[in-house]
């Protein structure tokens, strides 16, 4: 397991957002975390990457508990988090955004070529201010930026948010390609269908609790999950 979350509880002020949650991400897989709005998916990712500190429980990443490590140090240990709504630095150019993605390392000449090969569109726009990119291009930039820290584990929060179906499809194909090169992926999605299609395994989250966990194939065939999250009636 590259990541194991054990008995995690997280509060927002006095409100409990996550209660005693456990989940695991095996090395090399794509794991999807699906669930309705407000179930706590984003909170889990933010706790894993260190932005929120849990009240109890542990987050074991690569053998060590990182639940109370500062977020910028977690990046150095090999995790990167593409936040909800992409978190592009809209005041910086595409190139400068990529440079910040590689902040923890020395940027090598080949690094950018790799990213540009994955998303040729970014190469064309490297000098452009990132705020002027389209939603799809911003998502490409967010993913590329996260890749440049050379993560072992990549957390993706709703990469399909606000994107046209065609773009979503291509983003998900790229996530699959990134995974095939050895990066483990934990994917949070409202678009459960698309997420489970590329994932090896899935967790279903309901108001702070995991209600189902199985291989994604089994979840796609599970009647309750189909009714609740896949739009079947």
């Amino acid at each position: 397991m590259i990541l194991s979350v054990k008995n995690l509880s997280v509060n927002y002020g006095l409100i409990s957002a996550i209660r005693n949650l456990s989940m695991e991400v095996p090395k090399g897989e794509i794991v999807a975390l699906i669930g309705a709005n407000g179930a706590g998916k984003t909170t889990i990712l933010r706790t894993i990457s260190g932005l929120i500190k849990p009240v109890s429980g542990s987050v074991i990443f690569d053998g060590q508990d990182i639940a109370h490590v500062k977020p910028h140090l977690i990046v150095r240990r090999g995790m990167s988090h593409v936040p909800e709504r992409r978190g592009i630095f809209a005041n910086l150019t595409v190139y400068e955004n990529l440079l910040m993605g590689a902040y923890t390392r020395k940027l090598m000449a080949g690094d950018l070529d790799e990213v540009y090969a994955l998303f040729p569109r970014l190469a064309e726009r490297k000098k452009q201010i990132a705020g002027t990119l389209s939603g799809g291009e911003q998502q490409m930039l967010a993913i590329s930026r996260a890749l440049l820290s050379r993560p072992k584990l990549m957390l993706l929060d709703e990469p399909s948010l606000g994107l046209a179906p065609q773009i979503t499809k291509s983003i998900f194909e790229t996530i699959q390609r990134i995974n095939k090169t050895g990066t483990t992926v934990l994917l949070v999605e409202q678009n459960a269908q698309a997420a489970l299609k590329i994932a090896h395994r899935g967790y279903v989250l309901e108001v702070g609790d995991i209600t189902y966990s199985d291989t994604s194939q089994a979840l796609l065939n599970n009647d309750v999950v189909r009714k609740a999250y896949l739009g079947d009636h």
């Binding site: 978190g87 630095f89 005041n91 910040m100 902040y103």
Partner: protein
């Protein structure tokens, strides 16, 4: 007519560049932490006194005026950085996750503390800032006054601003500073150590205030512990005018304010010198609250 116009340009530029240097410190700290560092004006004041004592100590030993000037400027910058970083460490960093209003009130507290400390240590009476370089008229006779001090003030400011521009545009730390000021949380997710960037920001802001203090002392050789109050307010107006958080805006705002003051004094009356600054503030807040170059930032929920 033309002569008077040019004279006002010269005076305005010299005064405005000092405002601009101080305004940069306000705007940069606002950019990364979203609060007005009211103690900044008192760091400026401390820089003037640091220069005052340093000059007294150095001048018997140093005969080359350029070397003396450069040493005093660098000394004042270093002293201001030390004070700025101490204030950040002791007063602001413990409040990093506190509401912004708490930090703002703390900043006012630090400002009052430094002003009163200054009065105890330096005395409340004004002191005469030593003339590090003998004033020489460069354009004499024809009524137009241009002296070497004015030229030095403008050139030193310009060099510092160009240097700052280069740091912010082309160095990794400078780009990270802009990233932090856009979104500190995402900057964290990039592995950017945000405390380091905040220290870097205070370092630059305070050092510019230190340089500005010496340039001010050269032009208006009377310093006292409440010196920072009015300069600070003017520089703050300049920063708001340019768009608080916007570096280019602060530089332009400072120059524009200096020019506006010079022209007001000449064409209207010197009693309106301070009124024009606050008039500009009211005007900008009414009609373009985000400032000349500013953009509204969305409040995060």
């Amino acid at each position: 007519m033309l002569q008077a116009f040019l004279q006002n340009i010269i005076n305005g530029l010299a005064q405005g560049s000092v405002y601009a240097l101080v305004a940069l410190g306000y705007t940069m700290v606002y950019g990364v932490l979203q609060f007005i560092n009211f103690a900044h004006s008192d760091i400026f004041m401390l820089g003037a006194f640091a220069g005052f004592y340093l000059a007294k100590w150095l001048s018997p030993a140093v005969s080359n005026p350029i070397f003396l000037l450069v040493s005093v400027i660098l000394g004042s910058m270093a002293f201001c950085v030390a004070v700025g970083l101490t204030v950040e460490r002791i007063a602001y960093r413990p409040l990093r996750s506190a509401p912004r209003l708490n930090v703002l009130i703390t900043a006012i507290g630090v400002s009052l503390f430094l002003e009163n400390l200054g009065q105890i240590v330096f005395g409340a009476d004004p002191q005469v800032f030593p003339s590090l370089i003998a004033t020489q008229s460069l354009l004499g006779g024809e009524g137009l006054v241009l002296n070497n001090i004015q030229v030095i003030v403008v050139i030193v400011s310009l060099v510092l601003m160009v240097l700052l521009h280069w740091i912010v545009r082309h160095t990794k730390l400078g780009i990270a500073m802009r990233a932090v000021s856009f979104d500190i949380e995402v900057a964290n997710l990039m592995g950017i150590p945000t405390d380091t960037i905040i220290i870097f920001t205070f370092t630059i802001g305070s050092s510019l205030a230190g340089a500005a203090a010496i340039l001010y002392g050269l032009s208006y050789p009377k310093i006292e512990p409440l010196l920072g109050v009015m300069i600070g307010l003017k520089a703050f107006v300049a920063a708001v005018f340019g768009g608080i958080g916007n570096i280019m805006g602060a530089a332009v705002g400072g120059i524009v304010l200096g020019l506006a003051e010079a022209f007001t004094v000449y064409y209207i009356s010197s009693t309106f010198r301070d009124a024009i600054a606050f008039g500009i503030l009211i005007f900008i807040l009414l009609f373009r609250p985000a400032g000349l170059f500013g953009t509204f930032r969305r409040e995060k929920v």
